[in-house]
Amino acid sequence: MRFIDEFRNAELARVVIDRIHRRSKRHIRLMEFCGGHTVTILKHGIRQLLPPTVEMLSGPGCPVCVTANADLDKAIALAREPGVIIATFGDMLKVPGSYSSLQKVRADGADVRVVYSTLDALQIARENPERAVVFIGIGFETTAPTIAASVLQAEEEGIKNYYVLSMHKLCPPVIKALLNSGEVRLDGLICPGHVSAIIGSRPWGFAARDYGIACVVSGFEPLDVLQSVAMLVEQLEKGEPKVEIAYRRGVRPEGNLRAQELMNAVFEPSPANWRGIGVVPESGLRLRKEYQRFDAELSFDIDPGPTLEPKGCLCGDILRGVKTPIDCELFGDACTPEHPVGPCMVSSEGSCASYYHYGTL
C-alpha cells in the first residue's frame, strides 16, 4: 500500500541503522511514548538492530492500558444499567476492572456492542431511540476530536439518547508528570505521530526547552522509527535537544487546527486518573457545560463500588517505564492475552501483549 511499503524498505533501513551505529558514541535512553511505536519496534526487531549505546524504553502511550480501574468500573456499572446499550472500541472489551469486564457483563446479558467509529455509535442511537446509548470515550488527542464530532452531530440532529463516558487523556501533561517524578532518566523522546497529527509538534517544546530532552515526532513504519532514532542520536551527540518532525507526511508543526477547534468546542481540560501514575492535573478531557447533557457520568446514578487493583500486576510500573513486562512474575503464566490480569496484556499495543507476541529479548 502506498505510504506504507516505501517506509518498509529494508535497503534504506540498513543505511539508517549503519548511520546510527557510526554516530552514536555516548549511552542514551530513549522512550517511545506510543504503544503503536512499541509494536513497530518489537515486531521488526529494531532494539536488536541498534547499538548497545541506544537503550529503548516503552512509555505510557496506550489509552486502554492507562485507564484506571476506577474508570473501568464506571463503564462496567453503566453496562449493567437497565435499558443501556454500551458502544465501545473492541480493545476495551476484555480489560478487567475491579470485579468484572465489559465482556463478562455482556455474557451476563448486558448489551455491549463493539463499534469501529463514533459514527456507528450514533447510528445505534438513531435506530434505538427508546434506549440510552453510551459511548465509552477512551483515547488520546488522536481520537478525542472524533468523539467531539459525534457530540456535535448528535446535537445538530437532536439525538437525545446518545451519551459519552469521557475518559480521554492528553499526552504532553503526562510526559511532564513523568519527567517531574525523576523516576526515569531520559535523554530523548519518540513523540507519538498520530497524537501530533492533531496537536502538532509545538506542544512538545517544553520537554526540549525545560528538561533538555531531544524530541522527534515519528511515523509508525520501521523506516520512520529508525529515521527518528537517527535524528535523536544526532541531536544528542551535538548536545542540541530540540523538537523535530520525522513524520512530515502526516504531521505539521501547528497540527490539525480544525480538529483542535472541534475538540476545544466540546471538551475542556480536567484532572485525569492514569493507571500507575495517579491523578495528573489538566491531563484529561471532560464535556464543557453546554454539552453536559451528553455526559454519561452526570446523567446516570451509578455506584461502581470500591476499587480493587489486580494482585501482583506490574502494569503501573511498566507504564512509567521503571519495569519491563519480563520483570513481572505473572507475565506469560498467570497473565496471557487469552486470560489477561492487567490491561497491558489486553490491548494489542500494550507493552505486555507486544512482548508476548513478538518476543522478549
Binding site: 500500500m1 502506498r2 505510504f3 506504507i4 516505501e6 517506509f7 535497503e11 534504506l12 543505511v15 539508517v16 549503519d18 548511520r19 506510543c34 504503544g35 503503536g36 502511550g61 496506550c62 489509552p63 486502554v64 472500541f89 480493545d91 469501529y116 467509529s117 463514533t118 459514527l119 456507528d120 477512551i138 483515547g139 488520546f140 488522536t142 481520537t143 476530536p145 472524533t146 464530532a149 507519538p192 505521530g193 498520530h194 497524537v195 497529527a197 492533531i198 509508525f220 523506516l223 529515521q227 520525522a246 512530515r248 507526511r249 502526516g250 504531521v251 505539521r252 490539525n256 480544525r258 480538529a259 472541534l262 490491548s347 499495543e349
Partner: protein, 73 residues
Amino acid sequence: MCLAIPALVKSIEGNEAEVELGGISRKISILLTPEVKVGDYVLLHTGYAINVIDEEEAMETLELLTEMASMEG
C-alpha cells in the same frame, strides 16, 4: 488505539468521502479535514480522516534517506 492508515479519497459528498484502502471501499467522515480533495490520501482513524497526507513531504523524506544511502554506499 491511535492507529491511522493511509486511504485514497475517491469521491466526496458533503462531510463524507468514499475512500479505498487495500482494495476495500468505505465511507468516512471528512469533518476534520475540510481541505481534502479527490485523489488525496488521508490518514484514516476510527472512520474519520484526521489529516491529509502531504505527498511532497513523503517524497522528500524518501529522497533524503536515498541520498544518505548513496553518500554512504
